[in-house]
C-alpha cells in the first residue's frame, strides 16, 4: 500500500525551485540561499525526493583544483510531473485565498 500525502510547504518550495529550470543541474548551497532554507532542512528533503525517484543526482567534477566534486540535483520525469501538480495546487490555493471567503470546509483545505 502506498501512502499518498500532501508534501510539506518546504518540500513544495524545493520541488518548485528545481522546476524553474527543469533541465538545469542545481547545487545544494545554491538552493539553500535561494529558498532561505538551512542545510539541515534541505538535505533530508533532497534525500526523500531521491529515494522516491523524483530527483536525480550527479557529481560535478569540473571544480577548481583542491576543491571536492560537488553534488548536483535536478528533477526526474516523475519529479517534473509532481512539480506541475504542486504548481497547479498552489495556484488554486492562492486563487481561493485572494477571492471571497468560501465555506468553512474550503477555508480548512491545505491547512
Amino acid at each position: 500500500m502506498t501512502r499518498s500525502r500532501r508534501p510539506s510547504a518546504q518540500t513544495t518550495a524545493v520541488v518548485l525551485a528545481l522546476a524553474e529550470k527543469p533541465t538545469a543541474w542545481r547545487y545544494g548551497y545554491e538552493l539553500c540561499q535561494q529558498l532561505g532554507l538551512k542545510p539541515g532542512s534541505l538535505y533530508p528533503i533532497l534525500v526523500r525526493l531521491a529515494d522516491r525517484g523524483l530527483l536525480e543526482t550527479t557529481w560535478d567534477t569540473d571544480v577548481p583544483a583542491g576543491r571536492p566534486p560537488r553534488h548536483l540535483y535536478r528533477l526526474t520525469g516523475s519529479g517534473r510531473a509532481l512539480a506541475t501538480e504542486l504548481a497547479a495546487a498552489t495556484a488554486a490555493t492562492a486563487t481561493r485565498r485572494s477571492g471571497p471567503k468560501g465555506s468553512p470546509n474550503e477555508r480548512w483545505q491545505g491547512a
Binding site: 548551497y29 538551512k38 539541515g40 533530508p44 534525500v47
Partner: protein, 409 residues
C-alpha cells in the same frame, strides 16, 4: 597552533607517560606489601613504553590518510568530516555532498551555521525501513529492557543490572542496525569468526548465570559498575562480530587469523591453569623435553598470539589496517573465550583446595574469581594484547612497505 604529526605524537607520548605514572603512583600508595624495586621499575617502564610505540604507529598510519586532510581543515570542516564518517555507507554520498558544499561557504559564522545544520540533518536522514518500522523496533527494545530487569532479577538477583544494561545495549545496536541498513538484517562478512565470538558471548553469559546461581554470595563481587562494564564489553564484542563497521570485515584473512589466535590464547590459558596445578608434583615422571616444550609455550604463546597474527595480516594485506583488523578480532574473540573458561575453572579449583585461580597461594571466597575474571579477561589481557597486536600490525605494514620496489607512496 597547527597540529603537525610530530606535535600530536609528542603530546600523545606525554599524556600516556604522565597518566600511567600518576596511576601507578596511586596503585603503589595503596599496595600492601610494596612490590620489589625491580618489579616496580619494570611495571613503571614497560607498559607505557609499549603503549607509546603502539600509539605512535596508529598516529603515523592515521596521519598518512584522514589525519593529514583533517589537519588542513578548520573546525566546522573537521566536525562535518567526522559526522560524515559515522554515516552508513548508503548515505555517505549525501554526507560528501554536504562536505563539498561547505567548501563553497565563505565566512566563519556561515561555515559554522552550515556545518552544524548539516550535522543535524545527518541525524534525521530517513532510515531505510522508514520511521514507523524504527519506532516499532525501538518500542520492542524498550519493552524488553523493562522486562529484563524483573525477570532476570527474580531468577539471579545479582545479574539484574547486567541484564538491563546488556539488553539495552544490544537493543540499541538493533535499532541502529535497522536505521542504517538497507535491509534490516545483519551482515555476516566472516561467518566463522562471527559464530566464534557470538558463541563466546553466549557462553560468558551462561557461565556467569551458573556461577551466581551456585554461589549467590558472589554477587558482592559484581557491583553495578562492574556489571555495566561486563555488559558493555560483551555487547561490544557482539557488535564487532555481527554488525561491525565495514572496514573491520574487509580482510577475511585478518579476521580468521584473529579468531584462530584467540582460540590458541584460550587453549594456552586453559593449559596454564592446569600446568599450574601440576607444579606441586614437580613434573615428576614427565620427560625433560615435554617440560621444556611446556615452558616455551607458556612463556612465548601470549606474546606470539597477539603479535604474530596482526604482523602476518599487515604483511599479507600490505597495510596497517589489515593488521589492525586481525588485532581487533583477536581481542574481540579472546575476551569472551577466556572469561567463559575462567569462571568454571575457578569454581573447580576452589572446590579442590579453596584457592583462587590466578593466585593459588591465597585462600579466598570463591566469588573473588568473578572480580579476577573481570580484571584480567576484560581488562589486563585485552589492553596488553591489543598493544602488542597494534605493534605487530605496524611492523608488518612497515616490512611490506620496504619490500615493495618502486612504491610511489
Amino acid at each position: 597552533m597547527r597540529w603537525t604529526r610530530r606535535r600530536v605524537q609528542t603530546v600523545t607520548t606525554w599524556v600516556i607517560v604522565v597518566v600511567w605514572v600518576m596511576f601507578y603512583a596511586v596503585a603503589l600508595a595503596n599496595a600492601d606489601p610494596l612490590p620489589p624495586l625491580e618489579t616496580a621499575v619494570r611495571q613503571l617502564v614497560v607498559p607505557p613504553l609499549l603503549w607509546v610505540v603502539a600509539a605512535r604507529l596508529v598516529l603515523r598510519h592515521w596521519w598518512s590518510g584522514p589525519g593529514s586532510r583533517m589537519s588542513a581543515m578548520d573546525l566546522p570542516g573537521r566536525l562535518l568530516t567526522v559526522a560524515v564518517a559515522a554515516l552508513p555507507e548508503r548515505r555517505r554520498e549525501w554526507g560528501r555532498a554536504m562536505l563539498a558544499e561547505l567548501a563553497e561557504v565563505q565566512g566563519r559564522s556561515a561555515r559554522w551555521w552550515f556545518a552544524l545544520s548539516s550535522v543535524g540533518a545527518m541525524l534525521w536522514l530517513p532510515p531505510a525501513g522508514g520511521w514507523p518500522v524504527l519506532a516499532l523496533v525501538a518500542g520492542v527494545v524498550v519493552a524488553s529492557v523493562a522486562a529484563a530487569g524483573p525477570a532476570v532479577g527474580a531468577a539471579v538477583p545479582g545479574l539484574r543490572v547486567f541484564a538491563v544494561t546488556f539488553t539495552g545495549l544490544v537493543g540499541a545496536m538493533v535499532v541502529l542496525a535497522v536505521a542504517r541498513l538497507r535491509r534490516p538484517r545483519p551482515r555476516l562478512p566472516v561467518p566463522a569468526p562471527t559464530v566464534l565470538v557470538t558463541s563466546g558471548v553466549a557462553a560468558s553469559i551462561a557461565v556467569t548465570v551458573i556461577f551466581l546461581r551456585r554461589e549467590p554470595a558472589a554477587a558482592q563481587y559484581l557491583p553495578p559498575a562492574a556489571a555495566v562494564y561486563l555488559a558493555a564489553v560483551l555487547a561490544g564484542c557482539l557488535w564487532v562480530a555481527v554488525a561491525a563497521p565495514r572496514w573491520l570485515g574487509t580482510s577475511r584473512l585478518a579476521s580468521h587469523l584473529g579468531a584462530a589466535a584467540a582460540v590458541v590464547f584460550a587453549a594456552w590459558f586453559w593449559l596454564a591453569i592446569h600446568t599450574d596445578e601440576m607444579k606441586p608434583l614437580g613434573f615428576k615422571g614427565r620427560s625433560l623435553s615435554l617440560v621444556v616444550l611446556l615452558a616455551l609455550v607458556l612463556v612465548s604463546a601470549p606474546v606470539a598470539v597477539f603479535f604474530v597474527p596482526a604482523f602476518a595480516a599487515g604483511r599479507a594485506g600490505q597495510s596497517f589496517r589489515s593488521g589492525l583488523q586481525a588485532a581487533v578480532w583477536t581481542v574481540t574473540a579472546m575476551i569472551p573465550l577466556t572469561y567463559a573458561i575462567w569462571l568454571p575453572e575457578g569454581l573447580r579449583r576452589h572446590a579442590i583446595d579453596g584457592r583462587l585461580l590466578i593466585d593459588g597461594e591465597v585462600v579466598a571466597p570463591v566469588g573473588a574469581n568473578l572480580a579476577d575474571a573481570l580484571a584480567f579477561c576484560l581488562g589486563i589481557f585485552p589492553v596488553l594484547g591489543l598493544t602488542l597486536a597494534v605493534i605487530g600490525a605496524g611492523l608488518g605494514a612497515r616490512t611490506t612497505h620496504r619490500a615493495v620496489p618502486n612504491d610511489p607512496s
